[in-house]
Symmetry: C2
Subunit: 418 residues, 2 copies
């Protein structure tokens, strides 16, 4: 493989990402719409992992999910079941989906359906539970169960009917707007959630649901600025799928973490995972917590950075430094540096403070290895023990070892010695 | 009056502005809540003006308002009535209120009520009509009348009931949030309108209105990103009222235009107007219009700049240059320059791209005259003929003569030659 051939492959890969058009088309039940989903399968964030190696928050989410799904009666029973080998664990990323933080999903959960109609692809993500004690951060108390059941029985069906009553929502345009409004759609989703709320509220009023349920749905969506995160993630995922399995390309198609390992995948290396231990996130902790409480980096949400959003677009969202730490100048610098490891600039996503420059798009494995500059990710921080929840938010990078291993595999695959 | 005494008066004036706490408390009927409002009185934007000197869009709005109020049957009859001297014209600013563009209001129109409870003050503004053919830009066709009647009969009552069902809305906090989301709340109100919509939607569902009317209200609010302009204006007005009538102070308490004249008022000079011909706005015109179509600067909306928002906070809203013209660097420069003519920085309104510096607050007449730097305003542009509407948006400054005349009056009042 010559350098010029790699460049051509990468250009084609990012052109495909640019052309992808994610739209929100509906809501389904995971067991009915997610490929190869089944009752005793739990999907999770990050690269593949077995129960013994799972971190505290991932275990907590698994225990809660088994109780929610009716596969276990108590968290203790769930823990035994999880360790027994009688339930399977597979990454969301291998089922056309993504999940924030622990990202654990079961067959009866409602999921957003995002489509790229020209490409005939669909991606999926659960609905965001809100803040506080939530499954995705490893909490599994009764309040978590009650909320998940309400989401299954009321929120999902009402949103499903509302979406069917209105035109599909163009997520690419909505994200582009949100970047003009100070979001980077990973840890700041206030504008995107507001725009989504404006789009959905009239349709929710037109459903056959009781006024009381319509009201609860509006109040639930309004109470949580991260509602849109569970849409920015599958939108980024579907755009990146356009670059997957591209012969010879060194573009990164996946970056994700399961709370133990960080994993990446490369377009030209298809579905091979390259993993290394996940880093600890540095950031701002909620009162009462210390660095000892923090679990290593977790969640599929780094799919936003992989698509040029999140940490890559922090210059569009200076207000985020109040949440993840650092200064406004740092936020500008993070975005500027990411142009050094990316193939191109997004045609859709513009960064107003950088004179509307397109966000840095298409992480190139070769550029990361050549420059030593690691992708910049911003993220929430989970407590390292099961059952507790979020302790803060901050900044993190992948371990360089993922990229070194991927480069070695690329050389082995495409540049035989003889 | 010594310089140090002026400085003390100015410090007290801006401290009072900083302490003001505007909250949205309800909706009323202008004739019932606006001081000294009566059936044959039309309120208008800008300093006082008589019918013969009114510009085209102001005349168009007056004609439409007379038909809407039932004081005339046709626009032609309205024109005769307006010229007859049988209806009175007075500035909104002399009735504790403000109106965007022509700003024409009659007794039966619904108005937002903004309060500063500690100061026991109230300000008022009509509800925003949306885009296209609207009264505030001088249009008076049937479609304008139908919309105004629906606003009186449905929108106003539904919003009034919704506001009564929920806690008052803290406008200062909402504006502060919107500045973190790329608004400057004069010509960019998308974030503020979205946040307001999120606050109001659940309460609208809780009203006794028919589902069909609730739906129409949500759709009307959602269709118009400028809904919040009619709240940022009375919020700015009530904050500036805290500085009015302050012995010796050179802080500007009002900047406004009626489409013919630009007028300012100064804290230490009480209710005296200092006027000069309004400038032409330079900006981006809608397709099909030329500079010849543009009316001179019009509207009370420059109250936002007087309060450190709008053009003074353009650095917070870089995306606005796509609407009013110029580059992102220009937007940064406009805000930076305004610190040279203002007394202090807002404690509430922060500008993220300038490292959360407070917005420039408290225009000082002396600093304007000493530096020759004029306040920077961004604004919509009305067609110069009655009945047409908006033709674009852009940037403008007050005429220096207003400030020169005010300075002369200040010297005469406070620095007698004896």
């Amino acid at each position: 493989m010559k350098r010029i051939e790699i460049q051509e492959a990468n250009r084609a890969a990012v052109a495909a990402i640019q052309q992808s058009q994610p739209v929100l088309t509906g809501i389904g039940i995971a067991g009915e719409v997610v490929p190869r989903m089944r009752k005793n399968l739990l999907l999770h964030a990050g690269p593949p992992i077995t129960w013994p190696r799972m971190s505290g928050p991932m275990r907590g989410a698994v225990m809660g999910a088994l109780v929610y799904e009716g596969l276990a009666k108590t968290p203790a029973e769930a823990e035994k079941l999880a360790a027994s080998g009688e339930v399977a664990f597979e990454p969301w990323h291998e089922h056309d989906g993504v999940g924030p933080m622990a990202g654990v999903a079961t067959a009866s959960m409602p999921v957003w359906i995002v489509e790229d109609k020209a490409a005939k692809r669909r991606t999926f993500c659960t609905l965001n539970e809100g803040l506080g004690k939530v499954l995705r951060y490893g909490a599994y108390s009764d309040e978590v169960m009650v909320r998940l059941r309400w989401m299954r029985d009321v929120l999902g069906p009402v949103l499903r009917e509302a979406l069917a009553l209105r035109p599909e929502i163009n997520l690419k345009a909505l994200i582009a707007q949100a970047l003009q409004m100070g979001d980077e759609v990973h840890n700041r989703n206030r504008a995107a959630t507001s725009l989504l709320f404006r789009d959905l509220a009239p349709a929710i009023l037109r459903t056959r649901a009781k006024n009381e349920d319509q009201l609860k749905v509006l109040e639930f969506l309004n109470a949580n600025d991260h509602t849109f995160l569970n849409l920015s993630m599958p939108a980024a995922k579907i755009m990146l799928q356009a670059a997957e399995w591209r012969e010879g390309s060194t573009i990164v198609t996946t970056m994700t973490r399961n709370g133990t390992d960080f994993g990446i995948r490369i377009a030209g290396l298809r579905d091979r995972w390259f993993t290394a231990p996940a880093n600890i996130v540095k950031g701002l902790l909620f009162p009462g917590f210390t660095a000892q409480d923090c679990n290593p980096d977790i969640g599929d949400s780094a799919i936003t950075e992989t698509c040029g959003l999140g940490g890559f677009s922090m210059a569009a969202a200076p207000a985020i430094v109040k949440f993840v730490g650092g200064s406004v100048a740092d936020a500008m610098t993070y975005t500027q540096k990411m142009y050094e490891i990316t193939e191109t600039e997004s045609e859709a996503f513009q960064i107003p403070p950088l004179d509307f420059r397109g966000s840095p798009l298409g992480i190139d494995l070769l550029k990361v290895c050549e420059t030593g500059i690691l992708p910049q990710i911003n993220t929430g921080i989970a407590h390292r023990e099961a059952g507790i929840g979020q302790v803060g938010a901050g900044l993190v990078t992948p371990p360089m070892a993922c990229f070194e291993d991927a480069l070695a595999a690329y050389v082995e695959t495409y540049c035989p010695k003889d």
